[in-house]
Amino acid sequence: MKVDRYLIPKNVEEAIDYLCRYSGKAKVIAGGTDLMLWIKEGKVQANALIDITEIDELRHIEFTESEMIIGAAVTHAEIASNENIKKCFPCLSDGCRYVGSPQIRNIGTVGGNIVSAQPAADSAIPLIALGAVCEILTEDGLRKAPLEELYAGVGKSKIDSTREILIRIIVPRPDSRYGTSLTRFAPREALALPIANTAVKLEIEDNIIKDIRIAMAPVATTPLRPKKAEQYLLGRDIQTPEIFKEAAKIAAGEANPRDSLLRGSSKYRKALAEDLVNNALGNAVKNILKNMEVL
């Protein structure tokens, strides 16, 4: 089965209409930086590709009082250079800056990073830490799901891109003081997939941890939230740095990386995960916004 049509709808209704007409034999394409390779390799087949990057409403970054809303077709370069995101959610700016190369970031989209469901996606991992919710348009209407629940396995998303379209990613804006951070370890500083990455969002009230979300990857088949480590940190005082060391130890215990020729032995990766979690927590504390009125 060869791709024989490349369609560029101007709005989401038209895009859904195309998907319906091809009844499962067309596929949504955004930047295509993963998908084009998979098509070339024969891993993915489709009769038609439906390019959603010319749909205006999917191309905006918007801040409301309570939320940040990112259109699925926003590129990594656009997120990395957005000043509001740098101020409010530096973990996401940093993650998008690490994706591929400038050429990849100019065309690869945040929505694509989510639907590709790669185990250590540098933009999806921070979004999980930020508690992002995805809005997905289907033939029957809109459905919403937390990003972390959309992973079905390595490279497998629960978003079926032959029938539905990820349209928006919604990140709640914390109402108390908070900090975010991303730590990452890769063989070289440019154009390299991470051996491991960890993103953190930490909310406090009078120095007491009120909410904590940690996202670790790739230490299991899907991105991991180390719930025991998070539970341990809740209610503790950020002025006692030893809690972060302890939490990192607990988090590494929850991780289950396999031996990998690409990423190292399981034992090494566990030790690395512990360091990354510890550093990410420390950096999040450093990044706690002094002033909530940043926008």
Partner: protein
């Protein structure tokens, strides 16, 4: 087959392409613009870099159909009336051309950078050229070339 209309190096063209064709293939095969090189063909090496709406992209993984109605610039689009572009001259002066395979892509990334930033610092140059692999010329010469190009363009 489907029709594709876009602007290549300042000229509007309409072609008949396969829906799965990559931009690199269409540039090289349909338009004989062989200055765009195919290296790894998986978006890693940067040899196939062209400017799409002024931004560098890897043409080996960009679907050709995606550039419908858009502006694409290849290395052939830089020289004017047989005169080399100042960035091309700078690459020669800096000795930043050896086998020449990665050069067209690097020059186009340098152009995109210098269009936005007249006098980029070393770190910015390194970041913006980080999507190019070179196996013979050496990366230091690229940085020199971009600096020389910045001065040339500044004097103009």
């Amino acid at each position: 087959m489907q029709a594709l209309t876009f602007n290549i190096n300042g000229k509007d063209v309409t072609l008949s392409i396969n829906a799965w064709d990559t931009l690199a293939n269409v540039l090289r095969r349909n338009l004989a613009l062989t200055g765009t090189k195919k290296g790894c063909e998986e978006g890693e090496c940067g040899a196939c870099t062209v400017l799409l709406e002024g931004k560098p992209v890897n043409s080996c993984i960009v679907p050709a159909a995606k550039v419908e109605g858009k502006k694409v610039v290849t290395i052939e689009g830089l020289s004017q009336n047989g005169e080399l572009h100042p960035i091309q001259e700078a690459f020669i002066e800096a000795g930043a051309v050896q086998c020449g395979f990665c050069t067209p892509g690097v020059i186009l990334s340098a152009k995109a950078l210098l269009d936005l930033d007249e006098m980029p610092g070393e770190e910015t140059i390194k970041d913006e050229l980080s999507g190019h692999l070179c196996r013979c010329t050496g990366y230091v010469q690229f940085i020199d070339a971009v600096r020389i190009a910045a001065e040339k363009l500044h004097k103009k």
